[in-house]
């Protein structure tokens, strides 16, 4: 009969080999972890994108300042309304733009000029 003390028995029991966990467990937990962690970054990214768009919008809007005098805006709208019914002409587009900026009576600002840029019309009809 072989006798053994607790320490010896524990040593023998500890020496038994254990079944190791599969590597897939780590992968599954990592996926679960990132699924868990993925929500806040996604929300943060969305907020960042929205914030960026808003900032861009604000920056774009701020570029139109300073605002032109009220009478100048009214006059520009009137011109635009008039030219829209005239025959189109690509060749005079820039000329029209320049003419309007140089107009001392209207005192057109860049903002007002941009409102009419792209509208193709005959410059002769402006004055």
């Amino acid at each position: 009969m072989i006798t053994m003390d607790d320490a010896d028995l524990e040593r023998r029991l500890r020496a038994l080999r254990l079944v190791p966990p599969a590597a897939t467990l780590d992968v599954c937990l990592a996926r679960a972890w990132w699924r868990r962690r993925a929500v806040p970054p996604a929300v943060a990214a969305s907020i960042a994108v929205l914030g960026g768009v808003m900032a861009w919008g604000l920056a774009t809007t701020s570029r139109v300042a300073p605002q032109p005098p009220a009478e100048a805006i009214v006059h520009a709208r009137t011109i635009q309304h008039e030219v829209e019914v005239r025959p189109f002409s690509d060749a005079v587009r820039s000329e029209v733009h320049t003419t309007m900026v140089r107009d001392p009576q209207l005192g057109l600002t860049t903002t007002i000029t941009q409102q009419v840029v792209g509208v193709r019309f005959d410059p002769a009809t402006v004055h």
Binding site: M1, I2, T3, M4, D6, L9, E10, R12, L13, R14, A15, L16, R17, L18, V19, P20, P21, A22, T24, L25, D26, C28, L29, A32, W33, R36, V39
Partner: protein, 179 residues
Amino acid sequence: MAYSAAQIRPGRALMGWMTSEPDDHDRYRAIYEHHRQGLFTLALAITGCAAVAEDAVQEAFVRLWQGPPVAGDHVAYVHRAVRNAALDQRRRRAVRQGGDAGLAFLAAPAGADREAEHDLHEAMRALPAEQLEAVVLHLYVGLTFAQAAEVLGEPLATVASRYRRALDRLRSLLAVRTE
């Protein structure tokens, strides 16, 4: 420290996500990295199936990540969560415990000491489930008796007594085999 059922109950994902601290997540990760073998062994000893045991461990950690922060011994808490998840899995999947299920966490005897290992396996298979669980938690999972008591929700003296009786029984069984 004993935990109430509410503390280890799954669910409340949104509340848990809002309330749990990043420190807890990092702590759980560290515990997993350090105790992954023990956690898997515990789950495997309960479920008797490696795949089910892995599911139990994963489920437990997902619950922990989603749950509220806890105070006290995180190691014991995580093991308790894994044990509960393994018991849930066993009930859910109707994994039958019996035969070799209780020793599924041990690799098959091999090598020069194959016969001695086989004797140990046979002796352990004869242990009552409660005693075997005490042996698993203390020897193979590596918990202290205090932690094992916390995991099992039993008094420390009860767990230590089960372990003591398990060693005595194993010793007597092995003595009979070697006579």
